[in-house]
Amino acid sequence: MFNDLFFRLRSLFRHDTVESEADTELRFHFDQQVEKLLKSGLTREEAVRRARLEFGGHEQLKEEIRDARGVNLIETLFQDIRYGLRILGRTPVISSIAVLSLALGIGANTAIFSLIDTVMLRMLPVQKPEELTQVRIREPRSPNDEPSPTFTNPLWEALRDRQDFYSGIFAWSLTQFDLSQGGAVHDINGTFASGDYFSTLGVRPAAGRLISEADDRRGCPGVVVLSYGFWQEHFGGEQSAVGGSLSLDNHIFTIIGVSASGFFGLEVGNKFDVAIPVCAAGIFDGPKSRLDRRSWWWLNVAGRSKPGLRPEQLEARLGVVSPQVFRATLPQDWEPKYQQDYLKRSFDSTPAATGTSYLRRQFTQPLHILMGVVGLVLLIACANIASLMLARASARHKEIAVRKALGASRARLIRQLLTECVLLSTAGALLGIFFARWGSSLLVRYISTGDTKVFLDLTLDWRILSFTAGVAVFTGLLFGVLPAFRSTRVSLTSAMKGSQGAEGESRAKFRPGKWIVASQVALSLVLLVASGLFLRSLVKLVTMDVGFDRNNVLIVRANLHNAKVAPPEQPAMFDEIESRVRSLPGVISASRSVMTPVSNYVWNSGLDVDAPNAPTGEAALAFFNFVSPGYLGTVRTPLLAGRNFSDGDTKTAPRVAVVNETLARRFFPNEEALGKYFRVHPDPGKQAPPIQIVGLAKDAKYESLREEAHATAYFPIAQITEDAEEQVFELRTAVRPSALVPSVQDAVAGVSRAIPLEFHTLAEQVDDSLVQERLLATLSTFFGVLALLLAMIGLYGALSYLVAQRQPEFGIRMALGAPQGSILRLVMRDVLVVLAGGLTAGVSISFAAVGLLQKMLFGLDARDTLTLLASIGVLSFVAFLAGYLPARRAMRIDPMVALRYE
């Protein structure tokens, strides 16, 4: 073994010595042989001739000796690389096109993969993340649903105190805190963290200390831990920040420390700015704190089980404590049947090494689809380079024949050609990594919306790098294998004769080129169909009638809780603000409500009507909004019948509602809903008052643009039954909505300077709800066009090559009197054949694959005929365009020039 290695290395490093030794040895043998033959009486001339005949090819023998010595593998690799670089450098334009298209393909793949890696695969940067498990709650009533990850505080405390099988268990909850003390809101990302949060995760302080068990007791004072990034950004990394204070939602917190850099929390896609103990929720909530609420679900729980406890043992232990914990935290005010369900719930444990992520839920499918899309683009790029290589290989026909004649084995030549390909793809990959870095950060910015800034740590890790390396080698082989094998199958005699081969042979040679181009056409069609579908879905979503007019509406969210206004004084203050902003110049109309459309907030409950077949369960669910009289007019949801609310619908007036068409149809089928009464499902032990329907409004989207219309009821905001300490003002403006922000701020400051305000436009809010769709439509269109371009280049290249090869033939045809048109037809026939083959394959692949996309589409079938026909049309047009240029060149051939080539 050692001997062998030494031997190979000696051959490698003492290359010249070994070469000359072999020469000397063979020369000696040859001379001896000549000597011998001379002795047998031949003339010198005859002896040398005979010896040479016996000897065979000197270089060939040396090559075999090199093989026997085992030097070749390593040495020829270096040789091949040097030679390959020289060859590629000789055709800089073609090589750079190849490298560039590969870089685009590989870069796109790496960019999408790095997002998949960071969002879905990467472990949290904490101590031994693989040991972390998250506790979730299984609901026996719906066994097929994913267990729920949210806890109430009593539930969390009961589990924490009743278990002894976690070496550390903690709760957390993500939220936003407003740094401002009135005026424009300045939201930052906050996390509630229980006492064991930092210690269980193994996070160390960068300054001061972190939240410990002693900080997380009922009635705790407000303490806050800053994240490293926030500390740097807001306090310049000053040690003196520790001990200072910070206002969160208008409450003063004392800074006790800073967490280590690199730790962003447990939610991938979000980084926390500040962490406060769970007990601090009491500071914000006042006496009716969520800490004691048994149906306020807001915490997540995870832990590290004791060493040696296997996952199934952990599950079993959780199963044992479940009944005790749920019995101890039973919500007393629930209806008995829901209480029974509550008692049957149980805990479940799931690995949490990769943290949690709403991005994962939202973008897993789009990312997988995009991965498929960029994979196709890379394949098309590969096909392009393969036909390029094929064309170049036939140009190198003679070179290959000469090398073969000199004794190069076929395997050796194939290796040389493949090395060139891998060189290309390596260069492509290196450049691609740069594209990917740029592309993936662009993507992250793209999926960030006004409300949620996405934060992802996109540093390259081994997984991304090995993915890229793998893709590079794979593509190099993919586009290299066919040309390498074909071009080394050379007949020496015909090649040396100098002709490119007979006419029949050249036609045969185009066949693999045709295959490659046809498969490009097929793949491009698949991409075009996909992008067409996504684009049309998006257009449908954007242009459909949503039941309100999103343009020129400014949304102002005002929080009187954080302004520390006592609840009884709040309605008057909201009224005051509403009337002040209504009279601002530039405001056409203004209103206020507790909800705005498509805002991620939902308020719903079951309804009862006095009818024999009244809907029950899910069907009885209606979605609510409490609005001021101006609301429907301001958002422009048409009132179809009855009356709108008026100032007469006061808190003490009879309860009234405006309902939408869906609610009317569902609860009062076959009869007039106007004037009828319904009741909202009452709180336990309470009586719900009857509410009269006084108006009928057109259906409008409530939660998302994709939804089927929800049964919706609007109530006068004056008759609201619960505290709504945060309300929203809608301002229809005659000018650009954002231009009104300063005057609104001034107007509200005239009422109170302590009120924090948050500004959006309704159009932004609707747009933000379409991130997924827009991402898919934009990117798939971008890649679809790229694919089309690549296919066009491929077809153009292949046909130009074909025309060049058949030039003599065309010359003869024309010399014999064939009209130009017939030559054109000859070439275009090839285009047609390729196109027909590619389209047929493409249509079948599309039909087989688009079913996967159905869930992401809106308002159209994945087998949509219009999209398919349009894609075929675009592709055919491009193909004929790409084919026409070479065909025209063929048509204009001067027969004399063409024939002289022979």
Binding site: R8, F28, Q60, I65, A68
Partner: protein
Amino acid sequence: MANKRIELPQGTLDLLILRTLALEPQHGWAISERIQQISSDVLLIQQGSLYPALHRLERRGWIKAKWGTSENNRRAKYYELTKAGRKQLELEQDSWKKLTAAVAQILETA
């Protein structure tokens, strides 16, 4: 001249080279001459197979090479058997004998 010669069965060349070198170190030409002589011109070794075989054996460590001077005073590469080579020779000789005996037996009796 050619018709009395026979093709060497696969793998026997290594054995012949090892056996030839067992007597004394030799250069390539001498090895082929010696095999041709001893076999009464029946076995003719082509350079095309001899030299790759020599280098392969050298790589395996069964023979080693050093430069010396030939009878006619020229620089020549001499090969000699190593200890491992001697062991290998015994092994191969053994199995060769078994093989030929078995083949002979079949040819005679069948």
